[in-house]
């Protein structure tokens, strides 16, 4: 593999935009730019689309995780030639994104013939809400034509005893719920109605101006006070006299909060009421948006990797050129101004563009080649890694469902539900063969939890896995098949598992996003203001795409892509309405299988 096959020559050699890496955000930006008539070249080192957002077969996944968990040797041969006259060459290198990769195969014989029949998500567990921004974007851009979705059957809250409790996330679900008392049903539904009233009142106030208030009062739709909106959500929920059980359901299973909201000490992201309400609103408007979707959540058939591909196809239709297996080895900078001019490819070809979007795992190589002191400093700075912000991910393949009568389901373990030191929620998503991510009759369980370090992360994942699944060693140690047969609600046995820690690094922090556009990999506690003043001049043409975050959906990624596009092309419309929409009556342009 060291001797790459002959790279194709790329024609033309000048583009408006070059994107290196086919992660979701890069694909969205490429599609948006193509839609606005820009010429775009989209490259990827890998032989597949999606980069860190792709879905891979078992061997592909293993090798991708392993190759991205060790620092790559700097591409020595081609890029060290700094003999270019007009440009200084800044080498690029790949940073390790994953660490502590742990792959175990317990029943190789069961997997052997099926290894390639898997589409395992690298950035799982992930789903889309029916009312997600990304869904809107797909409908608007036309990317929805290339993906089909299916509903997630149900969501649950798990407890330490392995029991799964239905998440009462809608009126129908509250009605059917067997674990809530009558009083709790009433309280929860009233809270939902309060939120709906707030949203209606907000919309009404927005559209009708001042006179809206009188009408709203009449209909009993009152807004939540601004003062309340700024308070922590947990405080607001307690003020509404909601009991802890309901609070926990709302916070972790509907608003999908990550950190323990009760414990200010460990909580790194205390949810404000405003954000909590927004998340509830997203959830509620998702339920019933598409008549053939049963709940709030949907999942793409063939896995999450379909999403970047769908946008790629959309860009290709608009003239974007795609080249896979083509690493970018270096940046070409104008000697005098230090301004970005283009990239050098692994093939040795130099390609020029106005703008550049880079895969988040790429970084500037050792400072030896730097032409000036100023840049030198910046490289050091750029290579500084945010030590915090990791997400522990796990993938388990089983042959039984967690719930015998369901195939696709979400389980949330709220903080402290499994052990006292559990400070973040653990989410687990089971996807079955009917979504074409694995052979029929098999199931893939994705897990994730935010963590500070690998030890903590692995502990989180293992705690959930131990509650949900059976590991073959423990079965062997008991060495009794009788135990299995006695227990009718047998936990699924793991056939294969992969655990890894993924760096989330910087760009995800939406707070400082506008600054990190030009200075990626800045961690929050650094004086960003200063840094941005120093480097903006040099780097405004180079942008880094975000790493997959620890969220369940892509809302933040999608926001980041919009920002990226708007920073680069402030005067261009983001996916202009081109052809008259095919389905003008309803917005059900989304193909959902039922």
């Amino acid at each position: 593999m060291s001797e790459p096959p002959s790279y194709p020559q790329i024609e033309p050699t000048t583009f408006d935009l070059i994107a290196a890496g086919t992660g979701l955000a890069e694909c969205i930006v490429a599609a948006a730019a193509s839609a606005s008539g820009k010429t775009v070249l989209h490259l990827d080192t890998n032989p597949f689309y999606g980069s860190h957002y792709s879905s891979l077969s078992v061997p592909e996944l293993t090798s991708f995780l392993n190759s991205n968990s060790t620092p790559s040797s700097p591409p020595s041969s081609t890029s060290t030639t700094t003999d270019s006259l007009d440009y200084s060459i800044v080498n690029l290198t790949t940073q390790p994104v994953y660490s502590d990769v742990e792959i175990s195969c317990f029943y190789p014989e069961l997997l052997e013939e099926n290894l390639r029949k898997f589409n395992l998500d690298l950035c799982g567990p992930r789903v889309l809400f029916c009312a997600d921004k990304l869904i809107d974007l797909m409908l608007k851009s036309g990317a929805s034509h290339y993906v089909e979705f299916k509903s997630i059957d149900a969501s649950f809250v798990g407890d330490g005893n392995g029991k799964l409790w239905n998440v009462p996330d809608s009126r129908a679900a509250i009605f059917k719920d067997k674990s809530l008392t009558l009083k709790e049903k009433n309280q929860l539904m009233r809270f939902f109605k309060l939120v709906q009233g707030h949203l209606v009142a907000t919309v009404a106030a927005g559209s009708s101006g001042d006179d809206g208030n009188g009408n709203d009062e009449k209909e009993g739709k009152t807004k939540i006070s601004d003062e309340d909106l700024e308070r922590p959500f947990i405080e607001y929920l307690s003020n509404m006299q909601l009991p802890p059980k309901i609070r926990s359901i709302i916070l972790y299973a509907i608003a999908m909060a990550d950190y323990d909201q009760d414990d200010r000490g460990v909580c790194q992201n205390l949810l404000k009421t405003k954000d909590g309400i927004d998340r509830l609103s997203l959830y509620q408007s998702s339920v019933g948006r598409f008549t053939n979707a049963s709940g709030a959540l949907i999942y793409p058939v063939y896995g999450q990797g379909e999403l970047p591909q769908a946008f790629s196809r959309r860009s290709a239709v608009k003239g974007c050129i795609y080249v896979l297996r083509m690493p970018v080895t270096a940046l070409l900078m104008e000697k005098d101004s230090g301004r970005y001019k283009g990239v050098r490819l692994a093939s040795g070809q130099d390609i020029f563009s106005q703008k550049l979007v880079l895969d988040p795992s790429l970084t500037l190589a050792s400072p030896s080649a730097s032409p000036s002191d100023l840049l030198h400093e910046s490289f050091n700075f750029l290579s500084t890694r945010d030590v915090r912000g990791k997400v522990a991910r796990g993938i388990c393949i089983t042959r039984n469902s967690l719930k015998p009568d369901m195939s696709n389901l979400l389980v949330v373990y709220p903080p402290r539900s499994l052990y006292p030191e559990q400070i973040t929620s653990i989410r687990a998503l089971q996807i079955s063969g009917n979504l074409a991510v694995c052979p029929l009759g098999m199931f893939v369980l994705y897990l994730s939890a935010l963590c500070d370090d690998a030890i903590q992360g692995k502990r989180l994942l293992n705690a959930a896995m131990n509650v949900l699944l059976t590991f073959p060693d423990s079965v062997n140690s008991e060495s009794s098949s009788t135990v299995q047969s006695e227990n009718t609600e047998e936990k699924p046995t793991v056939i294969w598992s992969g655990l890894y820690i993924q760096e989330m690094s910087t760009v995800l922090h939406i707070l400082n996003f506008s600054l990190t556009i030009s200075i990626p990999r800045v961690h929050t506690h650094v004086d960003i203001g200063m840094a941005s003043i120093l480097f903006q001049g040099q780097f405004d043409s180079i942008n880094f795409a975000p790493m997959p975050d620890g969220n369940l959906n892509y809302n933040d990624i999608s926001d980041a892509a919009v920002k990226l596009f708007q920073e680069m092309y402030p005067n261009e419309e983001y996916f202009p309405e081109t052809t008259p929409p095919e389905n003008s009556e309803d917005d059900i342009g989304l193909s959902l299988e039922t």
Binding site: A172, F175, K185
Partner: protein
């Protein structure tokens, strides 16, 4: 579809409409010519299909297709393949038509017609229905059709019940599903299907379900109605029962030939009879029919003339009534001498008394009482009956039971008949309702919670015994809160509040006695002091509990907020009635008075009769055009000479005509003017006092 605003058509839509209309017109004329010439070729039939797919409302086309089907079926010689293809074609056309408008009566009817031929498969029907009901889950055509298909398929009620469960699970606001559920549950309980044989278990299951719905969304009305239905199922006695009677069981009645001569007996039990007959009043817990000499036996100490003529006191046109009145003729001989007779009334020993719901009176019951006859001693004098009655406060004196008479007052406690059957199996009902009460105490911060709790508590009180209403204070408080909480419906709560208050006031001997007064007009020479029940100034808006008031002859309901006196017809002994200073809006709201044949003195002064130009109660009242009134009753030409006044006052005429009023007060109503006064004098020839003025 529900809740979708209608948009104004755009110009291009209008153009499309007219194009469509033109196309339809052509199709229609072609179709009609085919129809008239009885052409049933493939092309002709296809043409009608085209027409129907555009306009499913074209009923003629459906009928044409029926003729065509019959014609073609005959031609096909019932070759199974041909029959199948003909009928399947029809089903396809209907399905397309329904897609165009699935509220089309013609299309649904045609489908039923085809299926009733019995040759086509029904299996697809439920699938089609599921599809349609997905779009509009409360379409009543679809629901009717579903019941039809379920019957055709012989689907069990249990399966259909599960189907309603699925729909309710999907959306608890699907009132149609709840309704169908109530029908199915009733059927299953009636048939005593397994798992539905124990009424209490079924009800407990249903309560659990609807409780989840009501608690999940207390604003959704579907659940309220189902809960109300369940409560009714819980407390209602299936078979009719005698609630009370007059004379009451164990009472001593004095029948006096003289008018109200007080000869030491209790004024409560002294009645005058002019006609030599004794009224018997039967009050049932539900409207019944079939009360007659063969179903009710009256045995008396005297052998003569045992046949009693029973008449229903009707407030509507059906043959069933809550109240039945019998006239028991006393032989002349017995009336002329002092004597005591014990009478016993038994009913339910033979079948024949049937409730409006179709249930038989199945628990034999009886009551007995003693009648003391006091023959008239004097010639009738111009006494109490002809003297003007003044309802002023100073003429009423608190009734203080004479110690000697105390046991004679006793019958008040026995006013309603104790029924052992009722008490025997009420423990499960109590249990269920207690459970519901404790649940709904958790939902007290919304109106449905309060209202349901009030209803439950009322039902609970009704279960225990007739006299003690343990929860009435709480219920009254709940209704008062509701009036404030929900102003648009405050009149309804007010009415409910009134009923409870009314019952509370007249329940229990102590309470009732405190509202009993003796009438004594100081200026009058008459020595009779009748008992008057004075329920004035209680802000009552509705009356109830008549079964406990059958004995009342003089009733003061003035200074209340009555808009109607519905149910008052049960008080057959009533001779003096004061309805002054209420909110009665018209004569039609007084229809009950028509049945009070003993009524002599009536005060309607200071109401709102004639004040409302639109009288909504008019539509609830029998009109002169109604067949049930009968010619004889309306043949008023001989009485009223002035045709104009008859037309303008027909309601008054209709209500008052049969009454033999001697005193009437109508002043203070918008309707009262000279013309009306003249009209009254003509309609009521026996009238001696009108608005306090003696007539000649």
């Amino acid at each position: 579809m529900h809740g979708r605003p209608r948009k104004a058509p755009k110009p291009e839509d209008l153009a499309a409409f007219s194009a469509k209309a033109e196309k339809l017109r052509i199709l229609q004329s072609q179709f009609l010519s085919n129809h008239h010439q009885k052409i049933y070729t493939k092309e002709a039939v296809e043409l009608s299909a085209k027409l129907l797919e555009i306009n499913p409302e074209c009923y003629t086309a459906w009928n044409y297709r029926k003729l065509a089907v019959q014609h073609n079926l005959f031609e096909s010689n019932l070759d199974p393949d041909a029959v199948n293809s003909i009928l399947n074609d029809e089903l396809r056309v209907v399905e397309n038509a329904l897609r165009q408008n699935f509220k089309s009566y013609g299309a649904w009817y045609h489908r039923k017609w085809v299926l009733n031929k019995g040759h086509s498969s029904i299996e697809n029907e439920l699938r089609l229905l599921d599809k349609l009901q997905n779009v509009d889950p409360r379409n009543f055509h679809a629901w009717n059709y579903r019941r039809f298909v379920a019957a055709l398929l012989n689907r069990s009620d249990e399966d259909e019940l599960n189907h309603t469960q699925d729909l309710i699970d999907k959306n608890i606001s699907n009132y149609s599903a709840w309704h169908n559920r109530s029908v199915l549950v009733s059927n299953l309980m009636k048939k005593k299907v397994q798992a539905f044989s124990q009424k209490d278990e079924v009800l407990i299951r249903e309560y659990e379900l609807v409780r989840d719905a009501v608690f999940t969304d207390e604003d959704d009305q579907s659940g309220w109605f189902y809960h109300l239905w369940l409560l009714d199922q819980t407390v209602k006695a299936e078979s009719p029962l005698l609630t009370s009677s007059w004379p009451a069981h164990g009472s001593d009645i004095t029948l006096s030939g003289d008018r109200y001569l007080d000869l030491g007996s209790s004024p409560f039990n002294t009645y005058h009879f002019d006609s030599g007959s004794l009224l018997l009043i039967l009050y049932f817990n539900q409207a019944v029919e079939g009360v007659n000499v063969s179903t009710v036996t009256v045995s008396s100490g005297f052998n003569v003339n045992k046949d009693v003529i029973w008449k229903p006191i009707l407030s509507n046109n059906s043959k069933t009534a809550h109240v039945w009145v019998g006239q028991l003729k006393f032989p002349k001989v017995e009336l002329d001498s002092l004597g005591a007779y014990t009478l016993e009334v038994t009913l339910g020993h033979s079948q024949g008394i049937i409730s409006s719901g179709g249930f038989h009176y199945s628990h034999p019951s009886h009551f007995s009482f003693t009648v003391h006859v006091q023959p008239a001693k004097k010639e009738p004098v111009d006494g109490f009956g002809s003297e003007k009655i003044s309802w002023r406060d100073e003429n009423f004196h608190i009734y203080e039971p004479d110690s000697l008479q105390s046991d004679l007052v006793l019958p008040l406690d026995h006013l309603s008949i104790k029924n052992e059957h009722e008490l025997s199996d009420s423990s499960w009902q109590e249990k269920i309702i207690d459970e519901e009460i404790s649940n709904f105490r958790e939902l007290l911060d919304c109106k449905i919670g309060k209202l349901t709790l009030a209803r439950l508590l009322t039902a609970r009180d009704a279960l225990v015994s007739s006299d003690k209403s343990v929860h009435s204070e709480e219920v009254l408080r709940l209704y008062s809160e509701l009036m404030k909480l929900d102003p648009p419906h405050s009149q309804f709560y007010k009415d409910e509040h009134s009923l409870i208050l009314f019952e509370k006031v007249i329940s229990g001997r102590e309470s009732l006695l405190s509202y009993c007064f003796r009438y004594r007009n100081l200026t009058s020479s008459s020595s009779s002091n009748p008992i008057c029940l004075r329920l004035n100034g209680l802000s009552l808006s509705r009356l109830g509990s008549f079964e406990k008031l059958l004995w009342v002859q003089m009733l003061d309901l003035s200074h209340n907020e009555l808009r109607s006196i519905e149910g008052l017809e049960a008080m057959q002994l009533l001779s003096h009635l004061n309805l002054s200073k209420n909110k009665l809006g018209s004569f039609t709201s007084l229809e009950s008075l028509r049945h009070l044949k003993s009524l002599k003195v009536l005060d309607l002064s200071y109401n709102e009769i004639g004040a409302h130009s639109v009288d909504t109660t008019r539509y609830l009242c029998s009109s002169p055009l109604c067949h049930s009134i009968g010619r004889s009753e309306w043949d008023g030409s001989e009485i009223v000479t002035d045709g104009v006044s008859l037309v303008s006052y027909w309601e008054a005429f209709f209500i008052l005509k049969g009454l033999k009023l001697t005193q009437l007060d109508i002043t203070g109503n918008a309707i009262a003017d000279e013309k009306f006064t003249a009209f009254l004098a003509e309609v009521l020839p026996a009238l001696k006092w009108l608005d306090g003025v003696q007539l000649n």
